[in-house]
Symmetry: C2
Subunit: 283 residues, 2 copies
């Protein structure tokens, strides 16, 4: 069983002791509701680091909608069991008060990397993500931190954070884990009704279509996105939020595709918002 720590001083003590004995630290920040996608991050951390720390914290600062924050699944016992089965050493599960004893005055501003995609539809979201990740990095001081590629824009934000602020943490991006029918694993999937679950795959199908068109030589992003959006819009139970072609580093929209790009989309299925992305490489 992992140690479950809930206070910052307790975690600092644990990390300090590990550091003193020269052990490398791998860190997997999560909001809990752990699934096989998280497990892949944890397994990689376990294989690369001496001490593996998983944080479970549903960060209020990154929710732009109070109802989404309230509905976000909380499954601590199951999460600790998954961590235990995966050989995690420490679970850090602080309260909101522990992380934010008062509303923070200083936060991380994420600039243009949050201008598009999810950042456009969730104002303040990536500022909240970057701020809590910075706090968690300062508390855990890991050698490596593991993030899923499913959240491509989040990963881009974190890479900028670390690079721009000289944070001595190696960021490891881990490929998206999918169900057999292609749906990207997400803690939000468990809120889908069976009928919604069946149609939710349309986002990945549209992104694969974009990927195929680009692999076949289409260079005009507008033509690629038009076709992909149309696939989604044909599905009446699904509402398209965005589907864009962006550059992989700054997440800025690309007009002409001259190198690797990311096709990224967000849809609403009933009351559930789902995102996904694929890397697209022109011939």
């Amino acid at each position: 069983m992992p140690e479950v720590l809930t206070t910052i001083p307790a975690l600092r003590d644990r990390v300090g002791a590990a550091r003193l004995s020269g052990r490398s630290i791998g860190f997997v920040p999560t909001m809990g509701a752990l699934h096989a996608g998280h497990k892949r991050l944890i397994d990689l951390a376990r294989s690369e680091c001496d001490l593996v720390i998983v944080s479970i914290f549903v960060n209020p600062l990154q929710f732009d909608r109070q109802d989404d924050l309230e509905r976000y699944p909380r499954t601590l016992d199951a999460d600790v069991a998954l961590c235990s089965a995966s050989g995690v050493d420490v679970v850090f599960a602080p309260s909101s008060l522990e992380m934010y004893p008062s509303p923070p005055v200083c936060v991380v501003d994420v600039g243009r990397v949050a201008d598009h995609l999810c950042g456009r539809f969730r104002p303040g979201h990536f500022r909240g993500v970057a701020t809590v990740v910075m706090k968690l990095f300062e508390i855990t001081q890991p050698d490596r931190a593991y993030f899923g590629e499913k959240d491509a824009q989040q990963l881009a934000v974190i890479r900028h954070l670390v690079s721009d602020l000289n944070v001595p943490v190696e960021i490891v991006g881990v490929p998206t884990v999918r169900e057999a029918d292609g749906l990207a694993l997400s803690s939000r999937n468990q809120r889908l009704q069976p009928g919604e679950r069946r149609v939710a795959t349309v986002l990945y199908e549209a992104l694969k279509d974009a990927q195929a068109r680009i692999a076949a030589g289409e260079r005009e992003a507008a033509r690629v996105t038009a076709a992909a959006r149309e696939m989604i819009e044909r599905q009446p139970a699904v509402k398209l939020e965005y589907l864009e072609i962006v550059d992989p580093l700054d997440m800025q929209p690309v007009a002409r595709i001259d190198g690797p790009v990311v096709a990224a989309g967000a849809i609403w299925v009933g009351g559930v918002r789902l995102i996904d992305n694929v890397i697209c490489v022109p011939p």
Copy 2:
């Protein structure tokens, strides 16, 4: 002589070696043009820490005026000599390109603590300060960092930065060093002409007047600041930028004085901007 390092990897190596041998690290971030005020910071760091690092970096991100950035004194040889005489172990003097290989996307946003005083008149200044200090903390990973109380708002920003983002650095505020006539030491003082130098003391005189009125029982901040501003405005060679009574933590203006406050001001003498502040305690 201190080691003079100009690259981030070289400094990280030096810090890593010190850490491995269990040595505590004291850090004094400066923009160079070192004077007796800086020396007091360095002396305190020297007395409290095993390894003393002084950074010398004129941070372009915190200058709101290009002419101020260009005119800021650069005196590296003299600075290294002062560091040498003060027992500094390492001088870190990176280039702008080393610190900012590209314009940063992620920066530190400083919120309401920058709304008044200097923050009001120098847009973006404290964002630039907080960002470079965060970077320098990530690079040097000190146990303690030393800042002058002359820059009261800067010190408040840094205290929030460290507290809000859980940065494991102890912030030490060091009292202002003054000339015999009360003028606070500043790298900008060397740009004063003799006649300007003589009248520059009016800011401290006005702040001492505010301090005396508060100590004598005056509770209305408006009455205190009116008297102090009038002292400055009587001096034709001096232009008042601001003079305010603020709370010591968040630097918000105070109307009624019920506890310790900071009286802070900024003036222009010729082309030189000078700031100062005093703590005021009601009876």
